[in-house]
Symmetry: C2
Subunit: 142 residues, 2 copies
DNA sequence: CACAAAGCTTACGTTGACGTAAACGTTAGA
DNA sequence: TCTAACGTTTACGTCAACGTAAGCTTTGTG
């Protein structure tokens, strides 16, 4: 099913405790609790509650991972929301599915552009580094 | 030399006119003139002037390309400044060169992380797409 | 019991990266 | 000559993504 991407491998370390407090998640992913609450404010996360206290599930944790991956790639939270929503079901409407496939292709194009950008940047860095080392050799003993 | 990365191939189309107005650059790279002036405000570009009017050189054009590439990768303008400065000379100081090499390695690590993120995202997208198509087949005739 | 640690809400503040408007100078063409 | 197109500066506005502070409840511990 389409939800597969949001399910994580059973996590053989911490078996039963498939629950996380806000500070746990905060520490694990090195984000502030403020950010986690913010992501909830804008509907990117929706932990359940025990009383007032937020309880994060495995799915929440996975969503957070996707959010942060998106951030590393320079996506806005809105962009991430779109992408994350791609993994969600409930899009049984055929037109929606077709639109979704288009959106996926669009994202793919952007990512491929990024791949290209990165490979160029890596090349440039290598060149810059080589120039540095060269300068060190040439200049290092004057 | 270390400036090599900032020099462009002689550009066999427009030979002599190695000069660009702000609107030319703006159109060519699809950015607003406001952005170009902003990049200058924060010292990322420094076109010469004819009177008051900005004149952009090939080097400026290349710097702009690097800035925009950085943006596509989600870098802040400050990050881009650091990277761009890596290509600059005037770092004849040996300690600076060594620090530079470290900075380059750091950037390389970040980029490799991005590569990893992207490949994962691409995989996820493929999976989501496959799920979509599957849903279309299964559901398309009910 | 007191009090520190962790949680909560509300709400104003901040930073980066520009957008937008006002008010003005220069130059080419009808 | 005048006006349309392009250029300039100055300066306030905006939006996303949180930071930060205030004030309050809940919970475990010496």
């Amino acid at each position: 099913m389409a939800t597969k991407a949001l399910q994580t491998a059973p996590d053989k370390g911490s078996d039963i405790s498939t629950e996380y407090s806000i500070s746990q998640l905060s520490q694990e992913f090195d984000v502030t609790t403020r950010s986690l609450r913010h992501y909830e404010d804008i509907g990117l996360l929706c932990p359940t509650r025990r009383g007032q206290t937020r309880i994060y599930s495995q799915a929440d944790r996975t969503r957070l991972r996707l959010i942060l991956r998106g951030k590393r790639l320079g996506l806005s939270l809105e962009d991430s929301r779109e992408i994350i929503d791609m993994y969600e079901p409930g899009k049984t409407n055929i037109d929606q599915l077709k639109k979704l496939i288009d959106a996926i292709q669009l994202q793919r194009n952007k990512l491929n552009q990024q791949l290209d950008d990165i490979s160029k940047l890596l090349k440039d860095l290598s060149q810059a580094e080589a120039d540095c080392i060269d300068a060190l050799k040439t200049n290092g003993n004057t």
